[in-house]
């Protein structure tokens, strides 16, 4: 399918800091595209440029054939944006908020009231629509925050970490909602630093760190970057010393070893075979092993493999 969003050589500098560093990716119409990266990677900055809030230092974003730097108005008409921070009027009710945002997206009359009803239904909050937002729980606010971005059924929805800081139940609700919207034809850019979410939702993913895209592809393509390896996760009772990690990395059959807090992640073509030597080496180094798990590689291990650090520190 044709690309509806193209990000071309995007750079954003704040003084000396390069928050977005020559980022490139494109999103096909109908896709859920993930932008996965740790805190401070530059996800929000990239979304802000895409939605016309910030000017790029270099590069451009083209949405549905229109450049955001030259025709921000045209781009904004195609987009729906769900900001990372809850951006709602606390003293207005959910219905009042949604009605207002719907109007700002150009809805009116019957279309508007139907869209608001539908969004409230989708958020599962139709029965509490008259309550002020300030009385809502964090999870409920999040749902209305999302609802406000999809009222006008945009062709492209930019979602910036829409599930941060909420309970698992609300999170599942939101993920299902995104799937449903996508099934109805909405193209979604979904940023997150939770690899589970991205693995669950996304067709394709760009992994971003320090403003740079370090890998792009489908989930399977990204997993394949580690090769046909197993991931051995060894849980210790305290973070291992760097020398200990080096010791493990030097064991024959181990292709890479990285510590994430008190977990040591070991990559190997044959996880079963290196298990014993790894545990033995750790014992000699004085580290206490509390548990060992051999798994298939996931995006977390891909990120670790590429950057030597965890997504979540």
């Amino acid at each position: 399918m044709a690309d509806i969003v193209t990000v071309e050589g995007l750079v954003k500098r704040f003084g000396d800091l390069t928050a977005v560093d020559h980022v490139e990716f494109s999103i096909a119409e109908g896709e859920i595209f993930g932008l996965l990266g740790p805190n401070g990677a530059g996800k929000t900055t990239a979304i802000s440029i895409m939605s016309g809030l910030l000017d790029a230092t270099e590069g451009d974003v083209v949405v549905d054939g229109n450049s955001v730097s030259k025709k921000p108005g045209a781009v904004k008409r195609v987009l729906g944006v769900v900001p990372q921070e809850i951006a709602l009027y606390e003293t207005l009710s959910a219905r009042e908020n949604l009605t207002f945002w719907g109007k700002m997206y150009g809805l009116g009359g019957k279309d508007l009231s139907e869209a608001v009803d539908r969004a409230l239904e989708l958020a599962g909050l139709a029965d509490r629509a008259k309550e002020r937002i300030e009385k809502y729980s964090g999870g409920m606010k999040r749902r209305i925050n999302i609802a406000a971005g999809i009222l006008h059924t945009p062709r492209v929805l930019l979602m910036d970490e829409p599930t941060v800081g909420i309970d698992p139940q609300s999170r599942n609700h939101i993920l299902e909602q995104v799937k449903k919207l996508n099934a109805e034809g909405m193209t979604v850019l979904y940023t997150s630093h939770y690899m589970e979410e991205v693995e669950f939702l996304c067709d394709r993913v760009a992994i971003i760190d320090h403003g740079k895209v370090i890998a792009t592809g489908t989930i399977d393509e990204l997993r394949a970057m580690i090769g046909d390896a197993d991931v051995v996760a060894v849980e210790l009772d305290e973070p291992p010393a760097p020398e200990t990690v080096e010791l493990v990395a030097a064991i024959p059959g181990v292709s890479q070893a990285d510590a994430v807090e008190s977990t040591l992640q070991v990559l190997s073509a044959d996880g079963g075979a290196v298990l014993a030597p790894v545990v033995a080496a750790l014992g000699r180094a004085g580290a206490h092993v509390r548990g060992v798990e051999v798994t298939e590689p996931n995006l977390e291990s891909v990120f670790l493999h590429l950057t030597g650090k965890s997504l979540r520190d």
Partner: protein, 412 residues
């Protein structure tokens, strides 16, 4: 345009749910007008003063040189023959100033004027002279009318007496036939105004009450000044509106929708202006009917001045929003600006008690201009045409504040 109005409606809704804002914008001025106004001038009905007794005590016996006008006599006859005085008051000529002062103090007389001994001679000698106007502070309005009539007559007579000394000295002075005196006076008045050589008689007013140490005119004064001041507090809450939206990221979010920055900012500004007009209307109606405050005979002019004042307030809101990063900061800037402007704008005391050279300082204040316009309408019966300068000045102020503000205003 429709989106601008959507923003306005949303902002008005948010503001009208803000109990703290409403308390400051409406509750506080009402309470202050009531307290200050009734401490310094009662709530007495004004209608009852028609036909109220007033007195004139003329202790002046004319100047030594009989060719100089007897100013005391002129003022006395001027007051007694004055139609307005006759229509409103029951005027008596009296000789004992002390007795009259006592009667005003006890409320037996509504007001009085005392022309001191040697008044004409002092004028002839070129000395500063003072008329003593006594008022019962319980009847503000009619006492104010009394005072302004006395001022008017005194101003006229002071011109006449100067002519008598300057132009009249060489002429036959006292011996002229009445028509000729009239002509001479007419000419000399023209000359005097042209040369701005009139030395006006100072009219000193006294509220005859023990507590009335401050020289202020009670409810009517405070209704205007407090309303004027609290309108400017609207700028602070308007600035909060910008800052809160910036903090809560709704401002950024608005700018991700297909809505121009101008519509967003314009919509918010319009909300500040409309809220202010609402505030003004409520305070106007409330003080008019609860406290019997007279705002003057031309409500259209009064509301136009208020509207212009609110343009300045709206511009100021944008400026404060640009200067302050947080609501706290805006509260700080806001109340500082309001207090400074109130102080120099004549909110706490009539500007006329400042030395003359310092009085123009009020033109740096929104309230200074607002009060100038509104009190012209209230006291001097000015209409729209006569308050054009405050209206223009306030509008210009608004534009200047806005220009500085919009230049620095951050929207994310």
């Amino acid at each position: 345009m429709p989106k601008l109005l959507t923003v306005t409606r949303k902002d008005l809704r948010v503001l009208l749910r803000d109990a703290a804002a409403l308390g400051v914008l409406l509750g506080m001025p009402m309470v202050l007008i009531f307290i200050l106004g009734s401490a310094l001038g009662g709530l007495g009905g004004e209608g009852g003063d028609i036909g109220a007794p007033v007195a004139i005590v003329n202790l002046d016996t004319g100047a030594r040189d009989s060719s100089v006008t007897d100013v005391g006599a002129e003022i006395t006859s001027g007051l007694i023959d004055n139609e307005t005085v006759a229509g409103i008051f029951d005027i008596q000529e009296r000789d004992d100033a002390t007795e009259v002062r006592g009667e005003v103090e006890r409320g037996e007389l509504l007001a009085a004027v005392v022309i001191p001994a040697g008044f004409s001679q002092s004028i002839a000698d070129g000395d500063a002279v003072t008329l003593e106007v006594l008022k019962d502070p319980g009847s503000e309005l009619s006492a104010n009318i009394w005072e302004s009539i006395v001022r008017g007559i005194a101003a006229d007579i002071s011109r006449v007496s100067i002519i008598a000394q300057t132009a009249g000295e060489s002429a036959a002075g006292a011996g002229l036939p009445p028509e000729l005196v009239g002509a001479t006076v007419g000419m000399a008045v023209e000359r005097a105004t042209a040369q701005d050589a009139v030395s006006p008689i100072t009219v000193e007013q006294r509220n005859q009450t023990a507590e009335a140490t401050v020289d202020i005119e009670g409810m009517d004064f405070y209704a205007l000044s407090m309303t004027s001041m609290f309108l400017v507090f609207g700028a602070m809450f308007g600035a909060f509106g910008f800052i809160t939206e910036r903090r809560d990221r709704t401002l950024s979010r608005l700018l991700t929708t297909p809505t121009s920055r101008a519509a967003v900012i314009g919509g918010k500004m319009l909300a500040i202006w409309i809220l202010g007009m609402l505030q003004f209307t409520i305070l106007y109606v409330f003080t008019r009917f609860s406290f019997g405050v007279e705002w003057g005979g031309d409500p259209l002019a009064t509301f136009t001045v208020a509207g212009a004042q609110l343009i300045a307030v709206t511009g100021l809101a944008v400026l404060i929003a640009a200067l302050a990063k947080t609501e706290r900061g805006a509260g700080g800037y806001g109340s500082l600006i309001v207090q400074l402007m109130a102080l120099i704008g004549g909110v706490f005391f009539p500007i006329t008690i400042l030395p003359e050279w310092l009085q123009p300082i009020r033109y740096a204040s929104i309230m200074g201009w607002g009060l100038e316009g509104m009190s012209d309408i209230q006291i001097h019966g000015a209409g729209l045409a006569e308050v054009i300068s405050p209206i223009l000045a306030l509008t210009v102020m608004g534009v200047v504040f806005f220009a500085f503000g919009i230049w620095r205003l951050r929207t994310e």
